[in-house]
């Protein structure tokens, strides 16, 4: 099997879709000559030209709205919002327009729009370039939300997003871009609502998202040294969510930890905990632990930034707390 970085895997899915389908095009800030602020779309201008690799003004309302308009005509635009913090600028178009057209029209319209974005802490960008906002969009009926953590998953899920007839908010994590992994020779679409068991275990289930998936894998390895067997599950898509897989895992392990980089309060871990307690209440041997960032705008200075966001050690501590209860 070939090996790709997470960054290359995103580019591979975009390029493959654009090669086979004239209705797919990409637009966003600095994505053409520069190849995107993260280098994801490097080389695509040369292959597909400026009509299909569209540099845009710094106009998040218009970029997202234009994507919705083209999608309503049956095209499959992929819009890049440079940092997920800037999704807030286009929130009206995402929440009131893209998510609602299908219902408000009584099923007449579809909005097959993919909105790619990235972000995350770990390089001291300060509070306006590093927050994680995936949970905001999981509260909006009509949207789908994906947050893959491996090259194989990011490629297969991006493909599925492009060919989904609904608006998809597609989260990538900045620190995952250099991550390498094996991918199938041909792109294999990954269905929404299907979690991946990253590692099997018997004592505790860790449900992790985004950058916290590799952190949870590290924590699981560390826990093994202490005789604790950790199962790590990546839901891969948050909306829809593979509730069955999460509940089945916790029924087996009887303990659960959720882990994301977003602030804990009101984060997606709360939804995961609710799903698990409702589906596996009689099996739980300990309160569900939530791991996430501390409740503050992210500070710039590296020491404060690193303290505020979670790491493998925080997952390991949470795992140990659940085991200690039994």
């Amino acid at each position: 099997m070939p090996e790709l970085t997470y960054r290359e895997a995103v580019r591979d899915a975009l390029s493959a879709a654009m090669r086979q389908d004239e209705d797919v095009f990409i637009m966003g800030e600095d994505i053409a000559e520069m190849g995107g602020s993260m280098g994801v779309t490097q080389g695509m201008l040369a292959e597909f030209g400026p009509e299909r690799v569209r540099n845009t003004p710094i106009s998040e309302i218009a970029i997202v709205g234009a994507g919705i308009g083209a999608a309503m005509q049956g095209m499959r635009p992929v819009v890049e919002i440079m940092y997920q913090d800037f999704l807030t600028i286009s929130m009206e178009q995402i929440v009131n327009q893209a998510a609602k057209h299908r219902t408000m029209s009584g099923g007449q319209l579809k909005v097959p729009l993919t909105l790619r974005t990235q972000g995350g802490a770990g390089w001291s960008p300060g509070a306006q370039h590093a927050q994680q906002v995936e949970s905001w969009f999981c509260h909006v009926p009509g949207l789908k939300v994906a947050y893959p953590s491996t090259p194989e998953d990011v490629r297969g899920l991006l493909w599925s997003s492009i060919y989904d007839d609904n608006p998809v908010i597609f989260f990538e994590h900045r620190l995952l871009y250099p991550l390498k992994g094996e991918v199938p020779e041909e792109i294999e679409p990954i269905p929404f609502g299907k979690a991946r068991v990253m590692r099997e275990g018997s004592d505790v289930t860790v449900i992790a998202i985004g950058r916290m998936v590799p952190e949870a894998m590290q924590a699981a390895q560390d826990a093994e040294q202490e005789g604790i067997s950790v199962e790590v599950i990546d839901p891969r898509t948050l909306l829809p969510l593979d509730e069955e897989a999460l509940i089945a895992s916790v029924k087996k392990t009887t303990r659960c930890v959720t882990a994301h980089e977003a602030v804990t309060r009101g984060g997606f871990g709360a939804e995961l905990a609710a799903v698990v307690q409702s589906g596996a209440f009689d099996y739980l041997d300990a309160p569900i632990e939530r791991v996430g960032a501390k409740f503050a705008p992210l500070a710039f200075s590296p020491a404060m930034e690193q303290w505020a966001v979670p790491h493998a050690a925080d997952v390991l501590e949470a795992v140990k707390r659940t085991v200690a209860r039994a």
Partner: protein, 326 residues
């Protein structure tokens, strides 16, 4: 360079065609009066805005479009939707929340849709549709289709970021869009003097280098001619056009608006001097007898639409979930 052109006397339509438009405008008027009456009788749920006084804009713009052209409208959408070809029964049934409505009861007055007839949605967020019209027009450009996408909005919308971003992007990419400003001088209850630092809103289009045409919105023929010119310009690949249409809202912002912000005799004065139906009636020298015959005909259509709507099907409550996802 931007061009700002003043349209003077228009000569583009035969008397026969103008009589058809007169009948259409009278139908809109009687439809809106019936909507007011039925709302006051407590039969219509929600929040309604009628377009009494603005009929010539809807009739004139739509008379110059081709069937494949598309529009997005505002919260004041009944006349636009009628003019685009939706049957009065389907609109009235929507206002009654029935399955036979043009949005199957999912949208209501502020979310009328009729995609088969090119009506891509009325938008209840001021300025919300404009970015999507830019994107719809982008799809026509990318697919090399000779179509235009038309956004309706009021002077209030020209103060939103969505307006400025949409016009900027549309002009930058020279997409075949028409931006139709229904300049009625009111942003809900707030007069121009309190929400606009300038009086000629074509200046805003000029700032983007966009062609702008100013036209008397109470003169249906002038509106038709200006739209025809704008449409030809846009489909030839010259870029979008801003239509600055001066019109008059002869009613409150919503049905039941006490209009405490407006001089009492202003509306009476407008009805005496600016009523587009009376102006056209005088111009075509329609006899009282002919007028009565037309009025009887359109009134019967409106009455029938109410009967149709009242006899319509109430949706199953659980079908509220039916169209969340495609």
């Amino acid at each position: 360079m931007a061009k700002v052109e003043e349209k003077s006397v228009a000569t583009g339509l035969s008397d026969e065609r103008l009589r058809d438009l007169f009948r259409e405008m009278l139908l809109m008027r009687r439809f809106e009066e019936k909507v007011e009456e039925r709302f006051r009788a407590g039969e219509l749920p929600g929040f309604l805005h009628v377009a009494i006084g603005q009929e010539a804009v809807a009739a004139g713009v739509m008379s110059a479009l081709e069937p494949d052209d598309t529009i997005m409208s505002t919260h004041r959408a009944h006349a636009h939707t009628l003019a685009k070809g939706t049957h009065p029964n389907a609109i009235m049934a929507e206002l009654y929340g029935k399955l036979e409505g043009c949005s199957q009861g999912y949208g209501g007055s502020m979310h009328l849709y009729d995609v088969a007839n090119g009506m891509l949605g009325a938008n209840a967020v001021v300025g919300g549709g404009l970015p999507q019209i830019t994107g719809t027009a982008l799809a026509y450009k990318l697919r090399k289709q000779p179509r235009v996408a038309v956004a309706f909005f009021g002077d209030g919308a020209t103060n939103t970021g969505a307006f400025h971003e949409s016009l900027n992007l549309a002009q930058l990419w020279k997409v075949p869009a028409l931006f139709v400003l229904e300049m009625n001088g009111w942003a809900e209850s707030t007069p121009m003097s309190q929400h606009l630092p300038i009086t000629d809103l074509s200046e805003r289009a000029k700032a983007f280098g966009m062609k702008a045409i100013s036209v008397d919105g109470q003169d249906v023929e002038a509106v038709h001619d200006a739209t025809a010119e704008a449409r030809a310009y846009a489909v030839e690949g010259n870029g979008p056009v801003f239509l600055n249409v001066r019109t008059y809202r002869m009613v409150g912002h919503y049905i039941g608006d006490p209009q405490v912000y407006r001089e009492k005799d202003e509306i009476a004065d407008l009805r005496d001097t600016k009523d587009p139906i009376e102006l056209l009636r005088a111009r075509l020298e329609i006899s009282d007898e002919d007028f009565e015959a037309l009025d009887t005909e359109v009134t019967a259509i409106v009455e029938a639409s109410v009967e149709f709507a009242k006899a319509g099907t109430d949706p199953n409550p659980e079908d509220a979930l039916k169209y969340v996802y495609a």
